[in-house]
Symmetry: C2
Subunit: 239 residues, 2 copies
């Protein structure tokens, strides 16, 4: 199999599938489209599409992200390759190999589904499926990956607007992990990690109308968290 022969091998269609997450009012949402045709007509599915001849999968994913969200500038958004799904029967019509991506959005633009007929909506994560194809599994894999990366990277700021409060940052962790976190301890950990967040001098914002105004922070330059911020008893721990 070291001799390449471009005519000797079955062609594959290569697509990208996107698990796009955002937070709306402190709740984790995911972007889903509604399929208009068979198979799985009427079912929800992850947004995605074919990789074009001159594109890498990453480029295709970012293009699809812009099309589906309707955002004009998606260049700064976090986009991360998850894994590739290639089981022969995953699409009943033809052989489709799909490279899955996870994307994180700070704010959720209400209107979207710009480019094509299929409607796209934000759906609360955890709402019952089943989704089309193997998209339930892709979505679960994406959620697990994002949750794990929150532990040892600065990824959480990707869910936040340019300036945010520590309470908002904590909401990201709580929404993705589905567990409450002790606020004082969270605060200390974040501030003790150099480069995770930087204070915006003097700025403060009223949060829910009520309560003390919160100091504002910007994302720092660090990408990894040492030591990590572990979620409470994620698995396997007997104690």
């Amino acid at each position: 199999m070291n001799g390449y022969d471009k005519y000797a091998h079955e062609p594959f269609a290569v697509t990208v599938d996107l698990a796009v997450f955002t937070l709306r009012e402190g709740v984790l949402h995911v972007l889903l489209v509604e399929r208009g045709q068979e198979p799985y007509a009427g079912h929800r599915a992850l947004p995605g599409g074919f990789v074009q001849p001159d594109e890498s999968a990453e480029t295709a994913a970012r293009r699809e992200l812009a099309e589906e969200t309707g955002l004009s500038d998606v260049s700064g958004l976090h986009l991360e390759q998850l894994r590739t799904y290639s089981e022969p029967g995953r699409d009943p019509r033809m052989r489709v190999v799909s490279v899955a991506f996870a994307a994180l959005l700070p704010d959720a633009p209400e209107a979207h589904g710009g480019s094509d007929a299929a409607r796209a909506d934000w759906v609360r994560y955890g709402t019952a499926g089943p989704r089309a194809f193997d998209h339930d599994r892709i979505l679960a894999d994406a959620h697990e990956r994002v949750g794990a990366k929150l532990e040892y990277t600065c990824l959480a700021t990707a869910f936040c607007p340019p300036e945010f409060t520590l309470g908002e940052l904590q909401q990201v962790y709580e929404a993705v992990w589905g567990t409450p976190i002790d606020r004082p301890n969270f605060r200390r950990k974040v501030l003790a990690t150099p480069g995770f967040v930087e204070p915006v001098p003097g700025a403060a914002r009223l949060t829910g109308g009520r309560g003390k105004p919160a100091a504002l922070y910007r994302a720092g330059t660090a990408t990894t968290l040492h030591p990590p911020l572990l979620r409470p008893t994620p698995e396997g721990r007997p104690a």
Copy 2:
């Protein structure tokens, strides 16, 4: 892009590339083939090949693994999808999307390169490249991934024969990470993690001819490590 049209899209070739690691005398080695034809004739490359029409990428990877190592039974070996490399120019001849895998072998069979003409040899990891295509990058990504997974999974036993000593297990960590580890502390951590290793009752083995015979252990049933076994100052930590 929700309407599928199998004739409207450029066909892609889909291949798998394998980063196969093993330990030989305590040193990390990787399996490389020597290319016989252009491009990159004479250069070393990762073993791999085309995904067949009826195969998933995982199935293809395991088939290639068996062919390249010459092992008759590769069913129990650790094989893990890394990521997919899809940049348009990565193969100068045609559009090739490659799904990369990392594999771990406990023992290194000397003779291999069974199926085809290309020679395959074990090369010490870190030996100077450059390798063909983007295989240097794939190899670096694979090494980083394996190193990271040693921290929070029981993956290290995949490098070991069915029965092994704690010293051998420690050598896995030291070889992959490239750092020495304190033996007493390593020992305690491993034994304190339930299900990581199980003692083989009464068995012991002389290790280097010299020294006290070491107790033997088998891999346990656990897959994750809580708490993790962190490598010393992997990155970013200023202290």
